[in-house]
């Protein structure tokens, strides 16, 4: 039986599609694919400074799984740096935290608490809002 890949909870997707090296003569077409959950693992560990236990609980995965994703993320970034490769972020096995929305008019990202009745952007009152959950 194939192993089931559990969905990992990602709080918010990265705000970029990728990173490109510059100042290099090597014009490589190759790239490294960084999964959203790998981005999240790096963010939680090295930006939010959480320990593996807290981070794995937040992502709804076991500690060994978190450690594996984190290790994979670091190796990919190291590979991209050393081999001057582009980094592209791809969706992977993620499940977005379903409470976040983005406004297509002003790019603000926000939550809508249950107690709030209106579904408009809190910054510009636009109704052109979209759930981050549906972004692929």
């Amino acid at each position: 039986m194939p192993r089931r890949t559990r969905l990992r909870k990602v709080v918010a997707p990265p705000e970029f599609k990728g990173y490109k090296p510059y100042g290099t003569y090597k014009n490589s077409k190759e790239y490294v694919e960084l999964l959203y959950e790998e981005y999240e693992a790096i963010k939680l560990s090295d930006y939010d400074l959480m320990n593996h236990k807290e981070a794995s609980e937040l992502m709804g995965i076991s500690r060994p799984t978190f450690a594996r994703i984190y290790e994979s993320a670091r190796r990919k970034i190291a590979k991209a740096f050393v081999e001057t490769k582009e980094i592209r972020t791809v969706f992977g096995n993620t499940q977005m935290d379903d409470s976040w929305f983005i406004c297509n008019a002003c790019q603000a990202r926000f939550t809508i608490p249950k107690t709030l009745k209106q579904n408009i952007c809190p910054m510009c009152s636009s109704d052109q809002i979209e759930s981050l959950n549906n972004q692929k």
Binding site: D48, L58, S99, Q107, F110, T111, P113, P122, S125
Partner: protein, 105 residues
């Protein structure tokens, strides 16, 4: 009645928007009804741990309905979500005045 908290680098409307939540220097509390604003110093900005949690607790004391910042840490996010306080993330480098004008239209 609606109170919005905006993270700020200083204690005036001309101050720059602070993109950190737990470690923000100041919190600007804007009342959409009276159009008045006040500034509260974040005493936990320099604490080693738990700044996000402490700041989230302060939001309850301030009776905030909405918070505008550049990023919320995972713990603050979890708490604020439970407390039904709306979180708004913007990446603009701008003044508090500018944000207040945008939301009070």
């Amino acid at each position: 009645m609606s109170k919005t908290v905006i993270t700020s680098l200083g204690n005036e409307l001309t101050s720059q928007f602070d993109k950190r939540f737990g470690r923000a220097e100041w919190f600007c509390v804007f009342d959409s009804e009276t159009k008045g604003s006040s500034f509260i110093k974040n005493d936990f900005a320099d604490s080693n741990q738990g700044a996000g949690t402490k700041a989230a607790e302060l939001m309850v004391e301030l009776k905030a309905d909405k918070i505008i910042s550049g990023d919320f840490g995972p713990k603050a996010k979890e708490l604020l979500e439970k407390l039904n306080i709306q979180m708004v993330v913007i990446q603009d480098s701008t003044s508090i005045q500018n944000i207040v004008e945008r939301i009070s239209i």
